[in-house]
Amino acid sequence: MPAEPVIRARGLVKRYDDFTAVDGLDFEVAPGESFGLLGPNGAGKSTTMRMVGAVSTRTAGELEILGLDPDRYGPEIRSQLGVVPQQDNLDQELRVRDNLLVYGRYFGLSHGLVAQRADALLEFAQLVDKAKSRVDDLSGGMKRRLTIARALINEPRILMLDEPTTGLDPQARHILWDRLFRLKEQGTTLVLTTHYMDEAEQLSDRLIVVDHGRIMAEGTPSRLIREYSTREVLELRFGSERNATAAADLAGIGDRHEVLPDRLLIYDDDGEAALGEVVRRGYQPITSLVRRSSLEDVFLRLTGRSLIE
């Protein structure tokens, strides 16, 4: 028998006056699963996270976290969650280790246990030598790791990460991904939002693509790519003026074209063959690139828009 889902949403809606931020989401997350919400800014991802985090009340629909209704059992649900918000909201007036100590107390943990876990988490977040530093003195990546460490102080069953690596440099992102992989290996359920397709591919077992508060598609990253894109993509640049005219002349090459302001994308399982055909028709692009399809292409196909605009 499959395990009961830890999160179950049915027709989940959140409205602010006239604006509908989340418009009828249905999804389930299994224990130990790493579940992603992929979508552009303003798609309703953070609002969904706040509802699942038993902070924001839903306008309509059903929502159960660990089998409990967040409207009634908010503290019970939050006692089992770790939350990493989009903006780090560490206490700037406290030192690094103190941030962990005070937060652990909110879960009713004893001073001794909190101190023990704080030290272990500083190690996990590679912040041992920063334990007595002021939060203001930390780099962006360090603050993010401290926020994640803080979210783990209660040994949560579900860790929720809202845009975990936005604004970080590549090295800081990879350190963070590594820490998240370790948690996943330990069986923590991860729920994350991101507008980076590589992050979604790296970290999610399964994801939903969200736009305008609705689910556009659901599945594993590889299944979504298979379903909504070709194996490879040929990216051509002819100069911004000429991409559209070139696309018209190159009709029939590949399964599908996307004309973006700066480039033309040709979807074909064999990108090199498609490039050969382009050249055969007398076109010499300024640059050409054959790459594997990504979730960015899935999103483009589903919404006609790029993820990062």
Binding site: L66, Y73, P75, E76, R78
Partner: protein, 283 residues
Amino acid sequence: MTAVQRAAARREHGDPFAAAARPRRWGAWYVTEHKLRAMRAYGGGLVANAIFNPVLTLYTFGVGLGSLISANSSPNAVDGVSYLAFVMPAMLCGALLMVGAEEGWFTFMSGFKWNEIFPAMRSAPISSAQVIDGTIMMVVIRLLVTGVIYYVIGLLFGAVQLGWSLLMVPIGALSALALALPVAAIACATVNDRGQHNIVMRLIVSPMTLFAGTMYPLTILPIWLQWVGWVSPLWHAAQLSRSLSYGLDEPGWLIAVHWLVLIVPAVIGWRLAVRNATRRLQK
């Protein structure tokens, strides 16, 4: 949820009910603990201020101005007591009122905006009401400590006798809350600071302090200005404190009014602060 369903949830998912029991009960205290720990960083400054402020003001007004008044009239020129004894209870309440005005605005604005710890607390098993209640408890602790320091210095100056007069500390703290909590309620609903605090301080708090019978009996003022004192928590707290300190004779009905003017705004401010914070934190 029935007991059977709850037992099933527990079997399936561990025990969220056991984990949330302590935060449900002690959450507000955890918030106070957090705020007190943060205060350690600048606690030295607060204590120094709490010591120097009464020393300077009691010396300047009580001793300096007091000796001038005694020399020009009699040693017991105001209310039948020395000027120092007259002014000290009101000065203590006034000092606490200033602490209240500062905490009511900056601590609550900060928690939502400048140092966003309130939303962070809300992600833990803490309710919005506990966030506010715990922060208020920290403010009360700061007020009481500041008040006790003021009182002890008053004793050293001989402005007051140890005894029931010690109750002027909680009375002063209550008058501070009568201002701080309505201000906190405004702060909890303020998304953008467009100088609201300055307006409150200059147009409401300053007149309430200046025309509240602090330095002289309220009856000296022309009748058209006395109403400012009547609506000021400071005048009511000062009169109550004076009756405890040197036995100022106040009729029973007026003592009841004094208490009402201190308690009603504090309670209304508290409930509004909780309501505004709850709306904001569960958006």
